[in-house]
């Protein structure tokens, strides 16, 4: 509706520049013209809000019924930038509306109520509201709602960037990357993020040309209902994208679309079941040594993060596998940052673009791990990660990577989703997840996570430090392994259970960051073999995790995600060679808890105490890195860019880009 105003922003031409400058929106007109939809059954409040928003120079549409608001949003997906909704409404609960919007349109939603009780506010947060206003609403509170729009866009853009920059990173000289790697993993991450920004432009261009463009899939109500029917028919635990796709029998729908949507859906379900439980309980249950410092949000965030990394790992791996070694030159810094995002874009990983992205992502996953790792290596890494704890080395050495690239690719994508989910579940909802998901699944997921972690640190380490060669000075024990690592990782790829690997990959990222310090994973090829067996199961878990991840919209989750990741990593390592899924799961959970806690404190020490390895450390670092990243694969602010990069299943509404016509975001401005 504000297309004209949107265009005006576009033409301002400052957005792209602004974006480059660090995402600060400096456009003259912004945030004027922000398209706001206000939903409230109270006519007095509605009138006052409308007047206030108009005074803020926003474009206001008001509606007094939630159903009307939903249909308005569905008709015009790109017509609004932000939604403000009351909590108490006669026809539909405000939280339900919030969930619908989040699932279908992924717009930022602000809740409002005269009720300022802690429980209600908490409910808003857990349902994914990006803010909560207490009535009476003052105009000052409304003046700043544009920040939520920017934040969301920025996060989506970041994800996009990551994938894009990963590609860009390949082209960049390795020296720069090496320089980045020389510093700590975190530093490398920061640098890569900066580099990422520089690469944005390049990436954009490259993305446009190199990636295939896939049309975004819009999950309309009917389509979603079909999807839900198919899932219910299959059973939530058995629902795999391929079967769902077959059941739905919708022409033009890709398995990737279904996979990402499934992930979101699972997250949504988990939240539904999880909301009833007190989040703190979850924390306590998991936190063994650590105090339950995680709030429910943390868990969710962690879960989300966990999911994302898994996804990105999967994608990266897939990319890595599918690609030739040419991509190995991806700068690590980029990778590190990408990791976070790569997780989020599982969908993006398919196809050529995916490969690119995956490669990059894989790099990212390996914090501090030289991006120069060949895709194969990455794949191998993933695999090694999967092997519980020690497989890295031996596994890596088996390298028939190329053959597995393809299968890995596909699997990776999925496992990532799962991995994330696992993360989520492990973090806070693990106990709950276990029940709905089925114990075996979860444990498998955990196991995979563990394995990935184990494998990853080793693998990753090598690359991070040596973009080109795997010799990593960082790795203590793996010194000898480093050279092998890349190769080792690939062998893993060849394992049939690639899917399971994917989630591991996610963890690898976490691990990678830690890898620097981690030592002492004894590669055991046996484990790797065992892991492969677990893979199929893990996949499911991962999907679940993914679901949760994607559905987590709130930014607060991000922080949690980090924890989640760390938790998973810890789990993986602690269990080490223990393939026992249950054990692993537990370890994961406890690790997660502790990790999360640790992460919060940046406390490698804790982790170390808990776990022998650096993996723990890796996690913390990873978490830190991941924290800033927005791990919502499905919510890409700039669809054009995203689709350009990744063309894969676009669960996200295609209109997302259009929604934001502000120059500040300049995603639209970027030539795709």
């Amino acid at each position: 509706m504000n297309s004209s105003s949107g265009k005006s922003y576009m033409s301002t031409a400052s957005s792209s520049v602004i974006w480059k400058a660090g995402g600060d929106v400096v456009a003259d007109q912004f945030p004027a013209g922000l398209r706001v939809l206000v939903v409230d059954d109270d006519p007095t409040c509605l009138m006052i809000l409308e007047k206030m928003l108009k005074a803020c120079q926003y474009n206001v549409t008001k509606c007094n019924r939630a159903e009307t608001a939903l249909s308005m949003l569905r008709e015009n997906r790109n017509g609004f930038d932000i939604v403000i909704s009351d909590v108490h409404m006669p026809d539909m609960d405000g939280f339900k509306l919030l969930e619908h919007i989040g699932l279908e349109m992924d717009l930022p939603v602000i809740m409002m109520s005269a009720d300022d009780g802690k429980n209600v506010v908490m409910k808003g947060v857990t349902h994914g509201a990006c803010d909560y206003l207490i009535k009476p609403v003052r105009i000052e509170a409304l003046k700043n709602i544009w920040q939520h729009v920017v934040r969301k866009r920025k996060n989506e853009w970041k994800d996009f960037e990551q994938s894009g920059s990963v590609e860009e990173g390949d082209r960049q000289p390795k020296q720069s990357e090496d320089a980045d790697y020389s510093s700590s993993a975190n530093e490398g991450n920061w640098k890569s993020s900066k580099r990422r920004k520089d690469d944005e432009d390049e990436n954009d261009e490259r993305d446009d040309t190199s990636t295939l463009k896939k049309p975004r899939v819009v999950w309309s109500v009917e389509l979603h209902q079909q999807f839900v029917a198919a899932v219910n028919q299959l059973g939530i635990e058995k629902a795999v994208p391929k079967k769902i796709l077959e059941l739905m029998n919708v022409p033009g729908l890709a398995r990737e679309n279904v996979a990402s949507h499934l992930q979101k859906y699972r997250l949504y379900l988990r939240r539904l079941s999880g909301v009833s439980q007190h989040p703190s309980n979850l924390n306590n249950s998991f936190m063994n040594p650590q105090d339950a410092t995680f709030g429910p949000l943390d868990l969710q965030a962690l879960a989300a993060t966990g999911q994302l990394p898994a996804q990105s790992l999967a994608t990266l791996q897939a990319a890595g596998l599918g690609r030739s070694t040419a991509k190995s030159g991806i700068p690590m810094p980029l990778v590190d940052q990408r990791n976070i995002f790569s997780f989020e874009n599982p969908k993006l990983r398919f196809g050529e673009a995916q490969q690119h992205v995956n490669n990059n992502k894989q790099m990212n996953l390996l914090h501090g791990i030289p991006t120069t790792m060949e895709p194969k290596q990455l794949a191998g890494l993933h695999h090694t990660a999967q092997s519980m704890g020690n497989m890295n080395m031996p596994v890596l050495s088996h390298g028939s990577q190329s053959s597995q690239n393809n299968p890995l690719l596909m699997q990776m994508a999925q496992p990532q989703a799962r991995g994330q989910m696992l993360n989520d579940s492990t973090v806070g909802l693990a106990p709950r997840l276990l029940s709905p998901m089925g114990q075996p699944m979860l444990s498998n997921g955990m196991a995979t996570n563990v394995s990935t972690r184990n494998g990853v640190p080793e693998n990753i380490r090598a690359p991070s430090y040596n973009p080109v060669s795997q010799t990593s000075s960082m790795l203590n024990f793996p010194m000898n392994h480093t050279s092998e690592l890349p190769g080792n990782s690939f062998p893993l790829v060849s394992t049939p259970g690639i899917s399971s690997l994917a989630p591991k990959v996610a963890f690898q990222e976490d691990v990678n960051s830690e890898i620097k310090g981690s030592v002492g994973f004894m590669p055991s090829y046996d484990i790797f073999n065992d892991l492969t067996q677990h893979k199929p199961q893990n996949w499911e878990l991962q999907n679940v995790g993914m679901m949760f991840n994607t559905s987590q919209h709130s930014n607060s989750l991000r922080g949690n995600l980090d924890h989640t990741q760390s938790v998973l990593v810890q789990q993986g390592f602690s269990t080490g060679q223990n393939r026992n899924s249950t054990v692993i799961s537990k370890a994961m959970f406890s690790a997660g808890d502790s990790t999360g806690h640790v992460n919060a404190q940046n406390g490698n020490q804790h982790l170390n105490s808990l776990f022998v390895d650096n993996t723990v450390r890796v996690k913390s670092e990873r978490v830190a890195d991941a924290a800033p990243a927005n791990l919502y694969p499905d919510h890409f602010g700039r669809e054009d860019l995203m689709s350009a990069l990744l063309k894969q299943q676009d669960v996200i509404a295609p209109a997302e880009n259009n929604d934001f016509d502000f120059d500040g975001y300049s995603i639209d401005n970027i030539p795709v």
Binding site: D41, D42, P43, T44, C45, M47, I48, K51, M52, A55, D86, H88, S113, A114, D115, K135, P136, V137, R138, I139
Partner: protein, 192 residues
């Protein structure tokens, strides 16, 4: 002048409404939202509030009179009512609503009924006060334009009369006026 008196009246009424706790800061927010594009914004909002709240009050009465009392529904209605009244800055009304909700949560029927009487009372008092206040405000702003109208009318009359006098001979021929008539006209003009 009358205008000044009106102005003073408006200011003092407004001050007392705030001092006595009938209105709070939120009302000021509404006043600030009023501008040239929407000169009667406050009036409109207050009118809207009273129309809507009447409906809510009726619902609450009904719920209170029914047996058994549905406290959940009561709480819902009152929550809505509280939201509205706080949005326009009706401080006393909002406070009474909070008290009512406490009784409601305790499922104290007697307390609810008593408290609701308070709510209605405050609601009615504020309505009267706001009506008077807003009327005064309106007449003040009207008085401003009234003066302008009068002045412009006087100016118009003078100008047209002077024109007439200038062209008196012409008009005289048209109307067939005698010198006496002309004199009379002159007199009229001078008195003006």
């Amino acid at each position: 002048m009358d205008r000044n008196r009106l102005h003073n009246q408006v200011a003092s009424m407004r001050r007392s409404l705030f001092d006595q706790g009938y209105l709070d800061d939120q009302f000021i927010q509404l006043e600030e939202l009023q501008d040239d594009t929407n000169p009667n914004f406050v009036q409109e909002v207050v009118t809207l509030f009273y129309n809507d709240s009447t409906r809510l009050i009726q619902n609450i009465e009904q719920a209170l009179n029914s047996r058994p009392i549905d406290f959940c529904k009561l709480d819902d209605y009152m929550h809505q009512f509280k939201g509205s009244s706080s949005s326009i800055g009706a401080k006393k009304v909002t406070n009474e609503c909070t008290a009512f909700r406490e009784y409601c949560n305790a499922e104290n029927a007697e307390g609810c009924i008593r408290s609701f009487q308070q709510v209605k009372q405050e609601h009615a008092i504020l309505k009267r006060k706001l009506e008077v206040y807003l009327q005064t405000v309106t007449s003040f702003s009207n008085s401003m334009s009234c003066m302008e109208t009068i002045l412009s009318y006087i100016a118009y009359t003078i100008i047209s009369s002077s024109l007439y006098i200038e062209n008196m001979d012409k008009y005289g021929k048209l109307f067939g006026t005698t010198p006496q008539t002309e004199l009379g006209v002159d007199k009229c003009l001078t008195t003006l």
